[in-house]
Symmetry: C2
Subunit: 356 residues, 2 copies
């Protein structure tokens, strides 16, 4: 009688997720709203700072047992509903050959920015299984340690990664990126083409290593007009997001400051779309439609407020979600450096207790 | 028969504006779309750099004849439809007594940031007529020089000015500002109260000195959620904008990254609302409604593109405005430092020639 069960249906059934985070990604009902935080492993935690005293950010990434330890710290300390592998969206820049360093207090520095066709051609072909094996190994270690908490893998979206490569680091106005895009579209498209392949390979490798969900960070895409997003970014984001569809793990598509891009980001893809605080959660979800889950959307600065104020604002977000399956609680962007740990822990408990 | 003419009607009639810029502010038809640029006097112009070699930014502001000269440079060189007085939104911080300097390449530095009730109480009462007389004198000089080009005066909005005073300078996440707002609302409201009075006095003085329109810069308000804007900012912006209504000069209400705040900004007031490039002009105008003029909305980075690309994008903006009275062409934010002057000049001509 086994022939009556279509193989793909069978696969789907055995992989029906049981944890609140994965269920919410698929808009299945959960007993409580799952919560995790972007940058939940980081400098606001004493355990993390203790490790950072001895190792640089890149050294932690390069040593899978350290990266795994740092990944697990917030799971133990906070009781969040998902872990996210400790890594950086710019790690692929190292094997690509453009040079990457983190200057103290100044963020990433790209040694040889990419601005010409020759620069694009000089990018080395990379294979995540070998060139980024340390991330994959960290994923395997974390999966061996975690029982019921799903692990999220991630990569940067082609636009956001390209912006660092072109600007040479962080940027306020993305002038070099936008100018390349508009004035030398052939170079832009060649770079995006290469990055999309690279990132798709990397994301797939993370899933094969054990990541049970993936997030694509298009953190700075909110600098673009919808017209430029549609023309210069959407096709590549769509290809990257589609590239992992056959793995049947949920994909979270994230950006900041995206109120006017949301319908296009949804078209690009993702089971879950990230929302920041600039749009009330219910309005953001209405803009996106019923057929997608959402993640967000507390302003990260709220975690510096007194607990009763935090509670009120968390309840406002949850009230706007209105118990509808498919909401993952998160901040609108990463946890800030000096956030009080006890406030983060309290926030997790508040989300879990809401409605009980 | 003069008694048949109601005095206010009479005033309105004699003050019926004749220049395209002022007519557009009141949504009256014009022969072509008026255009000016935020930061049109600045480092991208050789004439300005020549003066900056000898004087600091603050020295230019303090010397009315220098400020007037710098104000007139882009009117002569570009043929824009409005001048804007050369000044800085943070000038009122000097008489308020918190200290202000511009560190080379790092933007404004506030010597004694305002973070406690004592800090707010220590702010000195200021009177623009005496404490900021140099700006008013510059306005008088420019008005004496300009024949047909109207002059715009301006100030920062209470939120944006407060953010610099609290952060001590520029900011990326506005953590100190938002934390004060949420955690110590009594201090926030006391500061906003004082700033609103100060800025209203300053804006009124500029109009009395001869400014024929004013712009209120709430440049960084896009960092806020609509809920926080409505509660902590809107009442003060509304009071400032209303405070100059009786002068019968048009008021431009400007911010960046405000897609989700536009209906609230309109409620706060202004004859003209600024739009940035994150929302296509027609969609932004539709969100605001018919009863307000709009200003914008080219991405400032577009001026670095080749001329045919600039032309195409200017035409897209103008096509979206669809000839409807009440559109003032501008960038979505200020001209960037290294913008090619000939591109700026070409952009002015392109706007003027469109539809002819």
């Amino acid at each position: 009688m086994e022939t009556l069960i279509h193989p793909s249906t069978f696969n789907l059934q055995v992989s029906q997720p049981e944890t609140p985070f994965l269920r919410a990604c698929y808009r299945l009902p959960t007993d409580y709203t799952p919560v995790w935080f972007m940058r939940q492993a980081g400098r606001y935690m004493a355990e993390y700072r203790a490790i950072r005293e001895k190792y640089t950010l890149l050294e932690i990434c390069f040593h899978p047992e350290l990266a795994a330890e740092v990944t697990l710290q917030p799971v133990r300390a906070l009781g969040v509903d998902a872990a996210i592998i400790f890594a950086d969206i710019l790690l692929p820049l190292i094997p690509l050959g453009v040079g990457l360093d983190f200057a103290a207090g100044e963020g990433p520095v790209v040694g040889r920015p990419v601005r010409t066709m020759e620069d694009v051609a000089a990018l080395k072909p990379i294979h995540a299984e070998t060139d980024l094996s340390y991330v994959l190994e960290a994923i395997r270690i974390v999966r061996g340690e975690l029982k019921d908490t799903p692990l999220i893998g991630f990569c940067g979206a082609p636009f956001t990664v390209a912006s660092y490569m072109i600007e040479g680091g962080s940027s306020r106005d993305f002038l070099k990126t936008k100018t390349l895009m508009v004035s030398a579209p052939h170079i832009w498209h060649a770079l995006m083409e290469k990055l999309t392949q690279t990132l798709a390979d990397y994301l797939g490798a993370q899933i094969r290593a054990g990541a049970q969900a993936v997030q694509v960070f298009d953190s700075w895409v909110g600098a673009l007009s919808p017209q430029d997003y549609e023309k210069f970014v959407l096709p590549y984001s769509a290809r990257l997001l589609r590239s992992v569809a056959h793995y049947r793990v949920p994909v979270i598509h994230f950006g900041v400051n995206t109120a006017t891009l949301l319908p296009l980001m949804k078209r690009a893809g993702g089971d879950v779309i990230g929302l920041d605080w600039r749009l009330p959660l219910d309005e953001g979800w209405a803009l996106l439609g019923n057929d997608v889950a959402v993640q967000g959307n507390l302003d990260p600065t709220v975690l510096f407020a007194p607990l009763p104020e935090i509670k009120q604002r968390i309840e406002d977000v949850l009230r706007r979600a209105n118990g509808r399956p498919g909401h993952i609680f998160n901040l609108g962007h990463g946890i800030l450096q000096h956030t009080p740990v006890d406030h983060v822990k309290a926030a997790v408990d508040m989300v879990h207790e809401y409605g009980h």
